[in-house]
């Protein structure tokens, strides 16, 4: 396994310039998690509107490149998306890392699929899978947890 596949350009870019960082205005759902093994932290903020859309989505956190990139990619991909759809993407993402399956949702753009799939390199680094999945699990927790 090549490190280059783990630390792809897209991941380094998201890690160095995370998108949607901070508390989004008017969020009504949030959840946080931390990994005591390495000290990575993530806090997801979501604004779920009456039409069940994630009309705003953001995160706060600190951690390794993989965990920051993963949280950034999550918010970038799902912001503005419908709740059911977001759950489906999350499910597919977690399956991708667990079973090495591919993400093929047709309502995501090719670009978005490439971006999410850039995290699939983590599969080959079992100790780092949690870094990549933490934000996504936290999103699911946030959806269940009204402010």
């Amino acid at each position: 396994m090549e490190l280059k596949e783990l630390y792809q350009e897209i991941i380094l870019d998201h890690a160095k310039n995370p998108r949607n960082k901070g508390k989004c205005n008017g969020y009504n759902h949030d959840a946080k998690a931390h990994n005591p093994l390495c000290g990575d932290k993530v806090h997801i903020y979501a604004k779920l509107d009456v039409n069940k859309n994630l009309s705003d989505l953001s995160f706060e956190g600190e951690g390794c490149a993989i965990s920051l990139a993963s949280a950034s990619i999550l918010t970038d991909t799902l912001k503005g998306k419908d709740l059911q759809f977001s759950k489906k993407v999350t499910d597919d993402f977690l399956k991708m890392l667990k079973n090495k399956s591919k993400i093929t949702l047709n309502s995501l753009s090719e670009d978005q699929i490439t971006t999410i799939s850039s995290l699939s390199g983590v599969q080959e680094f079992p100790m780092r899978i949690k870094c990549a999945t933490m934000a996504w699990h936290t999103l699911l927790a946030a959806i269940e947890k009204k402010k």
Binding site: L3, K4, L6, Y7, L12, K16, L37, C38, G39, D40, K41, E62, G63, C64, A65, I66, F125, M127, R128, C131
Partner: protein, 405 residues
């Protein structure tokens, strides 16, 4: 045996990791095992194994003798006064829990103070936290200075009439600071305060002589000193062991068991409830022999030289920041890199066969104080060489390449 080619005594180095020779820099986490220790475990199971101290058949006698011979070996190695002062545990963690629990039960009351430091591993804090919850005791933390040390003055300032025990590490597993234990014990003695030393990082690197140090309790993890996993030692002055209540109840630790009452065995058996690690205890003798043959002072000097060379190399790299600058440092180099999280450093180094640890190393209080969530740690054992430090340095440069820094 010679330190220069000691790697050949450790079978683990015969393999490649990710296609590269293994550069093992995680000995503060756990050391690798010399062939003599590994062989002793299988050989014991093949020829001498049986449960210890219970049956009268020949194998039981053999196994019991080997087990107790190891106790003597440890007693001599630590220069304890009595063989009864050596208790086998599952690790330093259990050794400290034993003291916190038994000493705490008998001697700690509400409002009493336990004096510890900001350097401590969670295993020398959480057991005292239990006591704080159970008894309403207080925990005082001697502050770490900007070099990553805790000095005698910081301890002196916090001692008062309520201080019932001092619990302090011998060497920090993060800053590497060697704590002036002897001075602290002398100070505590004047005030009649017992001292527990978390010797987990001290024992593998320093000469440790209980008569010289004079501490009341000394906790050791055998797996960090070339010995088997799942084994630890608590050295405790006999006067304490005679007085302290047992830690766990079960077989072996009793004298007489009646429906209305139970009396306990004498020390050390009183503190060794249930079936003990047998092969591990027996094989630990080989680990001590290994250390004795090389000489702990030689091991210490060797590691020191390699460590200083490594620090010199890392200091040339302007992206690297070394954590702590203690006057006396023991075989640990913690560092951070600008723009690369320790976890990413550890993954990238691993690709080059360089094994380090990243995280807070079970010292969250210290990391909070330093204001950094995590560090990367290279820690040394007798098998490390200058070449390993060069490979560390090269692998660190590779991190910069991958992160385009």
């Amino acid at each position: 045996m010679n330190i220069k080619n000691i790697k050949s005594e450790f079978p683990i180095f015969e393999q490649k990791v990710n296609g590269k020779p293994l550069v093992y820099l995680d000995s503060a986490n756990s050391s690798q095992k010399p062939r003599a220790v590994i062989n002793r475990i299988s050989n014991f199971y093949e020829t001498e194994f049986s449960n210890v101290g219970r049956s009268v058949h020949s194998l039981a006698v053999k196994a019991t003798n080997r087990f107790e011979e190891s106790r003597d070996k440890v007693k001599n190695y630590l220069n304890a006064k009595h063989r009864e002062e050596i208790i086998f545990t599952k690790g330093a963690t259990e050794s400290i829990n034993l003291v916190a629990s038994s000493f705490g039960e008998k001697f700690i009351k509400e409002g009493d103070e336990i004096l510890t430091t900001e350097l401590e591993h969670h295993s020398n804090y959480v057991p005292w936290h239990f006591l704080r919850q159970k008894k309403g005791a207080k925990i005082k933390f001697a502050p770490v200075n900007d070099k990553g040390e805790v000095g005698i003055d910081e301890i002196k300032n916090l001692i008062n009439s309520k201080t019932k025990i001092i619990a302090i590490t011998h060497i920090s597993n993060v800053t590497g600071a060697i704590v002036p234990i002897k001075k602290i014990v002398d100070l505590a003695n004047e005030k009649n305060i017992p001292v527990l030393v978390d010797g987990t990082q001290g024992a593998p690197h320093l000469e440790i002589d209980m008569q010289e140090l004079g501490c009341d309790f000394y906790a050791i993890s055998c797996h960090k000193m070339y010995g088997p996993n799942g084994l630890g030692i608590l050295y405790a002055k006999k006067k304490w062991l005679d007085e302290l209540p047992p830690y766990q109840g079960g077989g072996g630790m009793i004298s007489e068991v009646l429906k209305e009452n139970v009396t306990f065995a004498d020390t050390p058996t009183k503190f060794e409830a249930g079936t003990m690690q047998t092969a591990e205890v027996v094989a630990f003798s080989e680990a001590i022999k290994f250390i004795e043959e090389l000489g702990i002072k030689n091991i210490h000097n060797h590691e020191n030289e390699i460590m200083e060379y490594g620090i010199e190399q890392l200091k040339k790299n302007n992206s690297v920041k070394i954590i702590g600058d203690p006057k006396e440092r023991g075989s640990v180099i913690c560092f951070t890199m600008k723009g690369i999280h320790p976890h990413d450093i550890a993954t990238i180094l691993d690709e080059d066969g360089v094994a380090i640890r990243a995280g807070h190393h079970c010292c969250q209080i210290l990391h909070d104080k330093l204001g950094i969530p995590a560090t990367a740690r290279a820690s040394l054992g007798v098998y490390n060489s200058r070449d390993d430090m060069d490979k560390l340095s090269d692998a660190i440069n590779n991190c910069k390449k991958i992160f385009k820094i």
